[in-house]
Amino acid sequence: MFAGNLTLTVGDFRMASGDFRFDSDGVTALFGRSGSGKSTLLRAMAGLDRHTRGQLRFHDEVWQDGRRGLPAERRDIGMVFQHAALLAHRTVRGNLDFAATRAPTDRGAAIDRDQIIERTGIGPLLDRAVGNLSGGERQRIAIARALVGKPRVLMMDEPLAALDWRAKAELLDLFETVIRDFGIPTVMITHAPAEVERLADRVVFMSEGRVERVETLKEALGRVDSPLFTEEGPVASLDGHVEHVDGDPHRLRFVTTPQTGTGQPVTFHLGADGSTTEHGPRRLRVRADDVALARKRLDNISMQNQLPARIERIDTSAPGRRAVFLTLDDGQRLVSEVTDRAVADMGLDAGQAVIALVKSAALAR
Amino acid sequence: ATITVAIAANFTKAAEEIGAAWEAKSGHDVRFSFGPSGKLLAQIQNGAPFDAYFSADTDRPELLVEAGDARDFFVYARGQLALFSLDLPVDERAEAILADGDFRYLAAANPKAAPYGLAAQQVLEKRGLYQRYRDAGKIATGESITQTFQFVTTGNAQLGFVALSQLRDPESPVAGKGHTWMPPAEDYDPIEQGAVALTRSEHPEVVDDFLTFVRGDAGAAIIAKYGYDTP
């Protein structure tokens, strides 16, 4: 758990978080516009700026109390900076070693170094000097370095910005593994709602140097005016897992995890997705734009997923447009965005049973 | 006219007074370049615009005469060696103190670089002490007689061979202080300081006038005032 209230003035910019408090387990996303103070808050939380004032507790440890801050080197944080911040006088391996040799030995079994190297794809770079790596290579090394240090908390400032989608996908898998299997609390800054929806358990929204609100991912996805939606419109995120269809290695489906005792799992047929590399627990991300509604099942249409659902409520998402929140058989929520006219024509209203049509769904990444 | 005269550093003070007196009398101007005799020699050999050279020894000016760069060699002053100590009573029992060697450092000028150093060496050799103190590392060597003097007057060396002129100067920092002993004159070769006029001078008559003044009574009086013998 992180709780506190931090202020930090850098030049003309004043970050005054206001009181905040959120669980630290899993992934916390810091989300906000460029210049809103995300990096500044992260630095203040890490104890990197001695002008930081205020309060910060991590569980029952006091990290900041007034002027007094616990030295950054004793907070046990693995950090991935926005610009990698590699040690220029060491090779790639030397950078990893730096972190590894300073990791507590009693956290021995935590994360396997070889696995980290493999998953970040930096094996061939190990003996290279860090001065002349490509942008993406630098970033992957920074991530590997943070992980081999076996930190108690992982903090990352836009760790995936410089990467191509495949590297992104692999690293997202890695993050998920690390965070799920080894339970490292993670705070990450990202500009991509898709990353938030894939990884985050909660979202800290920042704006003009202030923590505007902290919401669980469900809450953040449950209101139509969520900042996460300004780009692509409302999105739903469903928990479940990936499995093969009839043992065919090329056909995959996503089976949701019921959220209520009486709920039934719902199955989605997955579209072609280059990132579908692993099975096991995952999240499915469904844009409201991609969900159509019908009164009954339709035949003779290439629509694979026709799911019974009940309308929970209908909100206005934009002028002339409605967000229809649906509850599936498993108790999870799906959102469909339709025009005012469609709502009127079809006579849609809360409580009705409808069919949600999802052509094919993409795994959140 | 203006002439430039190179002066061995130990003669700085006397030269300034002589210069002022001559300027007043002759109406000419003289500028001085003070420095260790050896440096001045090297400068003269390499084209320094000096009209006359007052060395701290006689070898250097003679060298110039032999090379045809100088003329009219004469001895303008004769230095006297003195053993000085701030607290050891060398005035009473110099020989015993020297023989005991009950001091940490004895200062002397570098015999290779300064005539006073050679004289000090001769005084010690006469008593069979030089080799002993040298091997024992007890001789702090000043590159010039001034440094030697500083070694002693700052107390870093308990005693040292300096120039009498340094003690006699009314403005000397140790005027009237400490203890002085004059080694017998026969214990060391005379410390004769020679001067020459340089042939490159563009104003030989003016130079001659200056040198004549130095040799004259007025000059001799000033030189004697600063603790030198005059010929």
Partner: protein
């Protein structure tokens, strides 16, 4: 001029400041391009040149001065060589001599810090300047030098301070001629020789105070400048 009742000959002070200023400026003109050339040199000979630059330091100043007056002897090859281009003066025992000696002796103080500053420059930023159409000279003055100002500062301060205090070379090459080439360092020496300790102390104090004030001023300007640019 007298100060605290003690006579003070101001000529050596002005001369020293002039020599130090001219030396610093000349070393900026000479040393900075040398440092730049060396810092960009990829050849294996570079280490040789780097070592050469520092060599003036390893000889005692008076000995260096000794070799210098031999090299610049009016009948020597250098003066003769210059004579072919119409030079009919002398290189030593005048202002030129003082400056030549000081420049040579302080060369490492300018070149070394500048080289390390130049080596620390970001290639990408220089590339950005090129692509904004800045040619080499333009780049040098509008990007390279401003970004290397820490090195410029260190080089200039060391050069200036060292020239003010230098004694051996200027004594040899300048000739300590009263009113012409007598620098403060030699004047202090002369005062000590003639037991004018009060004047020696005063002159030392004047130089220390003046140099201190100059240095504080330089650092203050640098601080302002740096603060403004974060």
């Amino acid at each position: 001029m007298t100060l605290f009742g003690i006579p003070l000959d101001t000529h050596p002070i002005w001369l020293t400041l002039q020599v130090a200023a001219v030396t610093t400026i000349l070393l900026l003109l000479i040393g900075v391009p040398i440092a730049w050339g060396l810092s960009r040199m990829r050849s294996r000979w570079r280490v040789v040149f780097e070592a050469l630059v520092s060599l003036p330091l390893v000889l005692p100043p008076t000995v260096l001065g000794f070799y210098l007056i031999i090299a610049m002897n009016p009948n020597g090859p250098l003066t003769e060589f210059l004579g072919r281009f119409g030079f009919d003066g002398q290189l030593t025992f005048n202002f030129a001599g003082l400056v030549i000696g000081s420049v040579l002796f302080s060369l490492p103080f300018m070149v070394q810090p500048m080289m390390s500053a130049f080596q620390g420059l970001s290639e990408e930023v220089l590339d950005a300047a090129r692509l904004m159409r800045a040619g080499l000279l333009d780049r040098f003055f509008s990007v390279i030098l401003p970004l290397s100002r820490q090195g410029l500062l260190v080089g200039s301060v060391l050069t200036f301070a060292h020239t003010v205090g230098e004694f051996g070379v200027v004594l040899m090459v300048g000739g300590n001629i009263e009113g012409q080439t007598r620098m403060v360092s030699i004047a202090i020496f002369d005062h000590v020789e003639s037991f004018e300790y009060a004047q020696a102390h005063l002159l030392s104090a004047v130089m220390v105070v003046f140099s201190f004030a100059t240095l504080v001023g330089v650092y203050l300007i640098n601080r302002r400048f740096s603060a403004r640019l974060g």
